[in-house]
Amino acid sequence: MPATPMPKAQREQGHARVFDLGQQSLRELNQALHNLAPGSNETAWEVLNPKGSHSVAVGVDQPVSIDVRGSVGYYCAGMNDGATITVHGSAGPGVGENMMSGSIVIKGDASQYAGATGRGGLLVIEGNASSRCGISMKGIDIVVRGNIGHMSAFMAQSGNLVVLGDAGDALGDSIYEARLFVRGKVESLGADCIAKEMRPEHIELLQGLLDRAGISDVKPSEFKRYGSARKLYNFNIDNADAY
């Protein structure tokens, strides 16, 4: 996906602090973001020319907005805690890994392990996500407009994964208490993951997630819910064939 250029007028008006990774180092960018004090008025940031750099805007812990104009490599927005980070391109592996709070929007596609171990906040992927999306998630909410790859939500502990498209093989393998909502086809379910009834509270929850993700063209009733059968929570030799 081509990078969205920053509007010229905005740049001239100085609304955002601009970091050009073609001119400045990743270290300078992340240090500047970490130096932000609570209540800082530098609340809008633009990152130009990321060109697939790894670890762009990691460990940000202030409620600022960061627009990354282009595609990023591994672990963009890793451990985000409160920032609103938008990637106007695609993201490499581990985008938003271990996010605590805030939100991340990927305008393009995301590679493997999107939102891995995330503990809070919202990750929206407007394209597709590759394998292991939401692996080991611990409270994060993830909304994917396209499809997700195999082994997604593996050992997912808590939080919600919403997929408007299809899911690959072994969805929710060894899942704990996370909730999965898939609108399209599921290639196969992993160990201990089963389809579950969509009760009114789930419709309400899902509607809230779609609203937060800015998605209004689909209805919660079009989704199926999946979650843990909880049969593998305590080891039982009679379940050994399930692994």
Partner: protein, 442 residues
């Protein structure tokens, strides 16, 4: 007089010995593998198979109580803005809150701090007690990422990326439901009472090239301040050390098969991984081949018990050692004072390893509020500090006898081996010979 054939003495099989027979009966009765804590119990070549030569006409000793023998070590000077300096080259290994009680974790922190060394979190996140009582705290970054958050990452003094551990290279953590109290469950974001079998691989990287990028991320999040360790089990120490260095580690930690675990399968503990002694020289060789020996520090753990073990590890090229099981014993683990209670659990003091069951009479490997009261964190911390002091004095005694004014000046030339196996593993001559098996074509 009738002649009676003299009977032979009943003879048990060496192959099917009593323990093996009992395990077959146990397996047949239960249908499930045996789970236990601690490290390998089988006899393997170890530091006991090495001896120091001491001083002689060609080497003169230092005065035992008068001449200085340095013990301090700096860890993480390769890339970190804030390397760690420890007063002694003996650190406390990672053990989780969850597997250990809160008072036990606090005691480890207190003992380490009194001794000027570091302690390490585990597969369960960082607790306030632990952070508060540990001057130098290493924060483990594990596959499960239980309790992982950027705030704790930044208030750690170093970060240890755990790839594996000696008791179970290739295995994930295990914490059975009996020990999942409300607090442990909350820290791990899991329901109370379930059996936690942690992942064996990291969720967001695989292989050395990814590890390099992961380490970059951790450095960027912490502004390049913290030393980053990479811990591996004793699997392929040469290549694992080389790859950890290539990935950017400041410190490599190699844990041999005698290193303990809170819980895993007995078959895993006893049959996967290499002895500590077999891991050291390959790891040192990797550092030397890369020109990184003493630039990237090497910590070795698994079966370190006394100052002689410390001195031998350092002589083989290690920068520091780490203790887990021995530290727990110093706190009071497996103490004979609880013998009646060990017996009631079908064990005996010195053999008790059902740490996963959470009924530890010593109050260390438990989450039972009554049992954990048996650990007084202040007194237990003092015992650990005493023990660390003794180990350090012992190592200094040996170093001075070898003419060294620093523990780190000990060298392989100070050692001989008592067995061919130990000579081959340690790369030192068999005692009484100049033969190093595997060297010079022999």
């Amino acid at each position: 007089m009738a002649y009676h054939n003299p009977p032979t003495t009943p003879r048990k099989s060496a192959t099917f010995d009593d323990y093996t027979l009992s395990e077959i009966r146990r397996a047949a009765a239960t249908g499930i593998y045996d789970i236990r804590g601690a490290g390998a119990k089988r006899k393997v070549p170890h530091f006991d198979d090495l001896l120091f030569l001491g001083a002689s006409i060609s080497r003169y000793p230092l005065e035992g109580y008068r001449e200085r023998c340095d013990t301090n070590v700096v860890l993480g000077s390769r890339h970190a803005k804030k390397p760690i300096e420890l007063k002694i080259p003996i650190t406390i290994a990672g053990m989780s809150f969850g597997s250990l009680s809160g008072p036990a974790k606090e005691a480890l922190g207190r003992g380490a701090t009194l001794s000027g060394t570091s302690t390490t979190t585990g597969d369960g996140g960082m607790t306030e007690e632990e952070r508060g009582h540990s001057k130098t705290l290493v924060y483990q970054y594990l596959p499960s990422r239980y309790g992982m958050n950027p705030r704790d990452l930044r208030r750690a003094d170093a970060i240890e990326v755990v790839v594996g551990q000696g008791a179970k290279p290739g295995g994930g953590g295990m914490l059975l439901g009996q020990k999942i109290s409300d607090r442990v469950a909350e820290m791990r974001t899991l329901p109370k009472g379930i059996d936690q079998r942690s992942a064996s691989r990291h969720p967001d990287w695989t292989g050395p090239d990814d590890l390099e990028i992961k380490i970059l991320e951790l450095r960027e999040i912490t502004d390049w301040e913290k030393p980053i360790y990479v811990k591996v089990g004793g699997a392929r120490p040469y290549y694992d050390t080389a790859l950890a260095v290539k990935a950017g580690a400041d410190v490599v930690v190699v844990d041999g098969m005698q290193g303990g675990t809170a819980a895993t399968q007995e078959v895993f503990i006893e049959n996967v991984g290499q002895p500590t002694l077999a891991c050291i020289r390959p790891a040192v060789q990797a550092l030397q081949d890369l020109g990184m020996h003493r630039k990237v520090q090497l910590i070795v753990s698994g079966g370190i018990r006394n100052g002689a073990d410390v001195a031998k590890a350092l002589a083989l090229g290690v920068d520091a050692v780490s203790i887990g099981t021995a530290a727990l014993v110093a706190l009071g683990d497996n103490d004979p004072r609880w013998e009646a209670e060990y017996n009631a659990l079908g064990s005996t003091a010195g053999a008790y390893d059902d740490w996963h069951e959470g009924r530890d009479p010593a109050g260390i490997t438990t989450q039972d509020p009554e049992l954990m009261k048996r650990v007084d964190p202040i007194a237990a911390g003092r015992r650990l500090a005493n023990y660390l002091k003794v180990m350090t004095l012992e190592a200094q005694t040996i170093a001075r006898a070898c003419g060294k004014n620093s523990l780190h000046n000990l060298e392989p030339e100070d050692l001989v081996a008592l067995s061919i196996e130990a000579a081959a593993m340690a790369g030192v001559p068999l005692a009484g010979t100049n033969w190093i098996p595997g060297k010079n074509g022999f």
